[in-house]
């Protein structure tokens, strides 16, 4: 089987797998990461979201439909594990903790990473603009419907990063 080199959360890994393997399965099973999750496998919900940086900018991608072979050489992948820890959370994670913006939280990678990517690029965005940007496609779903708090958490983060 071919070998692939992945840079994930600042570490480099050599992966021996079929290039058609979804990136998500590599992150879950080979790298044993718990942040990106299998929700639908169809790019319809966002639970598998990771940030991909191959152009100097973090862009949210759906790792369930991106194959291992499609990841550009040298690209940096960031999962929510790569942002911070319970002891030292990233500001977006801290915002979600402070707003208690979770129920089951299975969807959380999608909401946080899409939100972070947009707000980092648009720190002055209004609530309406943030929401519009997150309405996709691709879609984001939270089936516990924790939307009220998640929106508050995103606004809290936006206030923090606003210049």
């Amino acid at each position: 089987m071919p070998e692939f080199t992945l840079s994930v959360n600042g570490s480099s890994y050599t992966i021996d797998a079929d290039g058609a393997t979804p990136l998500l399965f590599v992150l879950m099973d080979d790298l044993q990461l718990n942040g990106p999750k299998f929700g639908c496998g169809l790019s319809q919900c966002g639970a598998c979201t990771v940030l991909l940086n191959s152009t100097g900018q973090d862009l949210p991608i759906r790792s369930c439909v991106r194959t291992l072979a499609s990841i550009p050489a040298g690209a940096q992948i960031t999962t929510i594990e790569g942002l911070g820890t319970p002891e030292k959370p990233h500001p977006i994670q801290r915002a979600f903790i402070e707003e208690q913006a979770a129920q089951c939280a299975f969807c959380i990678s999608g909401i946080m990473l899409h939100g972070k990517a947009y707000i980092d690029q648009h720190p002055n965005a209004t609530q309406e603009e943030i929401l519009r940007s997150l309405d996709g496609p691709p879609r984001l779903l939270c089936r516990c419907y924790t939307h009220v708090r998640m929106v508050r958490a995103l606004l809290r983060y936006a206030q923090e990063v606003r210049p």
Partner: protein, 789 residues
């Protein structure tokens, strides 16, 4: 909140005979994991001469609490965490009842090796149960009183002259004389029966309960550290996928194993009756093999047409039951000044949990020496232990089920059925197997749907405009349910394996002998009079509540607010229709028919917070075109005894397109003493918005052979989606009535129960158009607008 384990907990692990354990620490959460190797023949409760009781006795204090010499406390309970926050509430309860800091506590929930059998975590019963006579609180109160007695002996001072602070019991007159819990009992068992006479702390004295202690899991969840069942990994673990029938009722005719023999990953095929699955080394390989496997299926049994399904329901043989049968219903209807009638329709809906269900199983052998450990997000670890044992053909005492949180679950999503899938595949290959369903297998073949309802309501009014008689007749469906030892066929995998699904037996209903409004079939306005006693929350004394249940073509089961949501949509819409007919304010008219003060209070509090304007509906200022705005109200006493809620919603209706936008939802809620105000708000908010998605958008679809709602593009389909993140959200406000003098009640299902009716009533207020069929799609709203005349 450090994830430490007390020596007692460790001892419990030893006692249970599980060697080579390891503890996986997620921040603030103790996850007890067990390595795979070395357990063959050594798991499931038996080891060298020691037998661990099959059930950890509910009436023994040691089943609930252990105190270590280092003062750490471990609690053991059977109420699991699904994101609703009850893990945190249980920590709060232990801290308050035992007078110890939260940091000293570890909680182990829902593990058949260690925790008492508390059945299923469902029905908003966690609060009533753990704060009730048979729950955690009573065991803690017994433990605390025993510790005071021990301290009294140790310190030579009568117990009533002692007090406690942070787990140290001291002499009130001389606090330097003290002894700690650890010194009194550390590392030893209480050996005490739970004392029904022990006095729990009065809620007015709570210092930890009643405060918004942050949820334990959230830091781990938002940083990717949390161990979901989807992230359980065992050494030597293989990956399984199932191959479900293409159409309902299809049976396996042939499986061509050669179709996968050249695929990578050491693919193995498992076929048992109509159950088909594959196992491979890696997840991707298993998925590819499941897609490639050639299975020849028989034709399906065919499905009734969805287009006229509500009519179909009324023509089938039914099992009938009465909630109430007053003997003067027909007579009073004849005497009524006016009769109002309406029919309400509610579709099949699904959980559609955002993550597809997953389980990991390690099964070794078959027969009396077989053993199994299942990591499962089931709502009931003990029922699953017993039914998995039946499925695998091994003794239940050799099965251990370890609850491990999964994606949000609101009843029976695929968590139980995928646990069977993993267990059966693991048994077949003799290695641990992880199965996560595909989205299609979850939606079309994984879960037990919330069933459809068709509800006819009739009210007879007297000359004063009050309701004198209430007549409810409904049709619904059932097939399967929660599985137990006798009924593995209650869920799809059990049925495919060949276990029968108990058939519905038609038959007439008998007059009831006592009143139970567990399904909220009786409206809030019924007096609920049965056999000379009246248990309802309202004033209407003449009632007939008759339910016809027919056999469902699809598996059904509880889905957040099961039956109660469907019934309350009808009842709370109908009372609004009667009020409108009489040109009465919807709240004023409700209050006229309510006898329960707490229900009146939540209505009034919600109305006050929403600045409710007292007037009849529809809104006299509404114009017949363009955007119309309106407000609606609904209320419920959940399950007839388990949590009060009133909800005002405000909507905008685009009368050119039929699009409904909910702009504001204001809840008044009373569930007795509030354990965690922020947690309760989170539940009310989530319930209100989930309820909004369900009533505006959601409906399971099928064709003449199969379910066609198989992913997020097709559930619900028709150019719409479930309510998404990113769509404009309503403002949600919650008024919490903190009733310290009342028992703790459920809170997780109250707001969702009334959201549909509150929104339908607001649509009527805005437009004068009445929607009586869920979901309120733009097309149905346009139909209602055209019908308003």
């Amino acid at each position: 909140m450090k994830p430490t384990m007390t020596p007692d907990a460790r001892a419990a692990l030893e006692r249970s005979g599980f060697s080579r354990r390891n503890f996986l620490k997620g921040a603030g959460v103790l996850i007890v994991g067990f390595s795979i190797s070395g357990r063959a023949g050594n798991s499931g409760g038996q080891t060298a001469g020691k037998v661990v009781p099959l059930t950890i006795a509910l009436d023994q204090v040691d089943s609930w609490i252990a105190i270590a010499e280092d003062e750490s406390i471990t609690g053991y309970t059977g109420k699991c965490e699904f994101g609703q926050g009850f893990r945190t509430v249980q920590y709060q309860l232990i801290a308050d009842e035992m007078y110890v800091p939260l940091e000293r506590i570890t909680l182990i929930v829902c593990d058949t090796a260690f925790t008492p059998d508390q059945g299923v975590t469902s029905g908003s019963q966690s609060h009533p149960t753990e704060f009730g006579a048979n729950g955690l609180r009573q065991a803690l109160a017994t433990a605390r009183e025993a510790l005071f007695q021990m301290a009294s002996v140790r310190l030579g001072v009568p117990a009533d002259q002692l007090a406690v602070l942070d787990g140290a019991i001291y002499v009130k007159a001389d606090p330097t004389q003290q002894v700690t819990y650890g010194q009194l009992i550390g590392g030893q068992r209480f050996e005490l029966t739970v004392d029904r006479a022990a006095t729990p702390k009065d809620p007015s004295q709570y210092t930890v309960l009643g405060t918004s202690v942050p949820r334990y899991e959230i830091p781990a969840k938002v940083t990717g550290q949390f161990e979901y069942v989807q992230s359980v990994r065992l050494p030597g673990m293989l990956h399984g996928k199932v191959v479900r029938p293409p159409v309902v009722g299809a049976r396996v005719l042939a499986v061509d194993e050669s179709s996968v023999q050249n695929l990578p990953g050491n693919v193995r095929v498992v076929v048992i009756n109509d159950f088909v699955g594959v196992v491979a080394d890696r997840q991707y390989e298993a998925r590819q093999a499941a897609m490639a496997l050639r299975v020849t299926w028989s034709e399906g049994v065919g499905l009734p047409s969805q287009a006229n399904f509500y009519d179909y329901m009324r023509q089938q043989p039914s099992r009938d039951s009465y909630t109430i049968l007053s003997d003067d219903v027909d007579q009073r209807l004849e005497q009524a000044t006016n009769i109002i009638r309406a029919t309400y329709l509610y579709p099949y809906q699904m959980h559609g949990s955002v993550g597809s269900s997953c389980a990991v199983a390690d099964v070794q052998g078959k027969g009396p020496n077989g053993t199994a450990t299942i990591w499962s997000a089931t709502q009931g670890v003990y029922p699953q232990r017993d039914s998995v044992a039946r499925v695998l053909g091994i003794p239940p005492e050799n099965v251990r089920v370890i609850f491990t949180e999964g994606s949000g679950c609101y009843g029976i999503n695929g968590a139980d059925t995928v646990s069977y899938d993993a267990a059966v595949l693991s048994q077949a290959v003799g290695q641990p197997v992880r199965v996560q369903l595909t989205r299609k297998d979850e939606m079309a073949w994984g879960e037990n749907y919330g069933p459809a309802y068709s509800i006819d309501l009739r009210a007879g009014l007297n000359e004063k405009g009050n309701i004198d008689v209430w007549d409810y007749e409904a049709w619904t469906l059932t097939k399967g349910n929660r599985p137990n030892a006798d009924t593995p066929g209650n869920i799809i995998t059990g049925a495919l394996l060949g276990f029968p699904t108990p058939p519905l037996v038609p038959g007439p209903g008998n007059p009831p002998t006592s009143y139970s409004n567990n399904s909220n079939a009786d409206s809030s306005y019924g007096a609920g009079c049965v056999a000379g006693r009246c248990g309802g929350t309202g004033t209407i004394e003449s009632e007939r509540i008759l339910l016809h249940t027919i056999e469902s073509p699809f598996f059904t089961g509880p889905l957040r607010s099961p039956a109660r949501l469907q019934n309350t949509f009808a009842n709370e819409s109908f009372i609004d229709e009667v009020a409108a007919f009489l040109q009465a304010d919807p709240i004023e008219y409700r209050l006229r028919h309510l006898s329960d003060q707490r229900l009146k209070d939540v209505l009034n509090e919600a109305a006050k917070a929403a600045n409710w304007e007292t007037r009849p509906s529809p809104n006299p200022d509404s114009k017949p075109t363009g955007i119309a705005t309106g407000r609606g109200i609904a209320c419920v006493l959940y399950e007839g005894n388990n949590g009060y809620c009133g909800l005002v919603t405000e909507v905008q209706v685009d009368q050119d397109t039929g699009q409904v936008t909910v702009t504001r939802m204001v809840a008044g809620a009373d569930s007795g003493p509030v354990s965690n105000p922020d947690g309760l708000r989170n539940q009310i908010e989530g319930g209100a918005l989930q309820g909004m998605s369900r009533c505006l958008r959601e409906e399971v679809k099928w064709d003449d052979q199969k379910i066609t709602s198989i992913d997020w593009m097709t559930y619900p389909g028709e150019a719409t989606t479930v309510f998404r993140f990113g769509e404009p959200i309503p403002v949600v406000e919650s008024v919490l009535l903190n009733r310290l003098d009342k028992p703790q009640l459920g809170a997780g299902e109250v707001s969702i129960t009334i959201a549909a009716a509150a929104i339908a009533n607001a649509i009527f207020d805005a437009t004068g158009a009445r929607v009586r069929q869920v979901p309120f799609t733009p097309a149905r709203v346009m139909d209602a607008l055209r019908a308003r005349g």
